[in-house]
Symmetry: C2
DNA sequence: ATTGTGTTGTTACAACATTACACCCAGGAT
DNA sequence: ATCCTGGGTGTAATGTTGTAACAACACAAT
């Protein structure tokens, strides 16, 4: 579980193309959710979401705790609490393959099957909903009588930019 | 070596239906791999694989360390080393959604897209290869220029048996 | 004012995974 | 026989990820 943040060392293009998500959009969705649940959208939640949105890449909870530090030093447990809220709100997803969290400005419909594509080089995540994948999963399940509830699809590979810049 | 201890008692279904894996088949595959790599198939590796095959369900490394104890008490790190070998050999897979490991007697072709279906109730894992899912993933990738390398698909749900026996 | 609900700060701990190093042991070369 | 070497093993220490538990606080509704 220890993802090496940069397993190859020396990358030429580094902080670059993990293109940020729309921070305002994602925050307003979080606010709506907060209202709908009758709970506050606190500064704590706001900071964590803002950091994730600005970064545009998955970060571990501990990484978030370090980087948020606008003066105060956050403890991991506080970050986890914020992340829990943000995941419920649908603004943040967890990447199980990396134990990392990232902001997402898409609004996923209920029961939609979403594919996370994670670049092995730069860490950026792209999402896509696929009805074809959903059908495939239903098919796979049917042959064994399995009742699918909660699919988790994470594909490691190379994003267009990293594939285009093969190496250096 | 040999079949499971087979703890089938009077119990309704408890430890039971995580049944799968052919221990002999999976061990012989591990042996072939060891030969091909010029490394030994040690008792350590054998015990870990045998335990996983007999259990037929995913177990954490620490759980394995506890249960293997045929006299000796294994440390987690030793289990991880065995698991590393067994995963390379393709006999064991890791479930990221549970940080757990399980034996698998299917021989997955290179580039095959395999779906792991994990029962939320009993923990049993079923596998299925799906060309439809594979096509869906390729499609999702194509729209963004992403180059998929290593998909990871885990679906949580209920297996046929647990769905049939609604509650505890 | 009191009560209730929810957030925060803090400590402690549980669960998962790796690094480092010394030792052993087999096989081949000297 | 001896040395060398490459893996495997045993052990300790540590790193990483995630929760539990509890006191203190904020704020709104009674």
């Amino acid at each position: 579980m220890h993802r090496n943040p940069d397993p190859r060392g020396t990358r030429a293009h580094e902080e670059t193309h993990g293109h940020p998500v729309d921070g305002d959009a994602v925050e307003s969705r979080a606010r709506s959710y907060a209202v709908s649940k009758g709970v506050p959208f606190t500064p704590m939640r706001q900071s964590v979401l803002a950091l994730l949105a600005a970064s545009g890449k998955p970060m571990s909870a501990y990484e978030i705790a370090e980087k948020v530090s606008d003066a105060r030093k956050l403890k991991a447990v506080q970050v986890y609490r914020a992340l829990e809220f943000l995941q419920e709100a649908g603004c943040v997803h967890r990447l199980a393959s990396r134990s990392a969290y990232f902001a997402c400005d898409h609004l996923h419909g209920e029961g939609e099957t979403v594919v996370f594509m994670v670049c092995a080089q730069c860490g950026a995540v792209q999402e896509a909903a696929s009805e074809l994948v959903a059908r495939g999963l239903r098919g796979a399940a049917k042959t064994t009588g399995f009742r699918p509830r909660h699919p988790m699809i994470e594909v490691e590979g190379e994003c267009a930019e990293c594939a285009g810049t093969p190496e250096r």
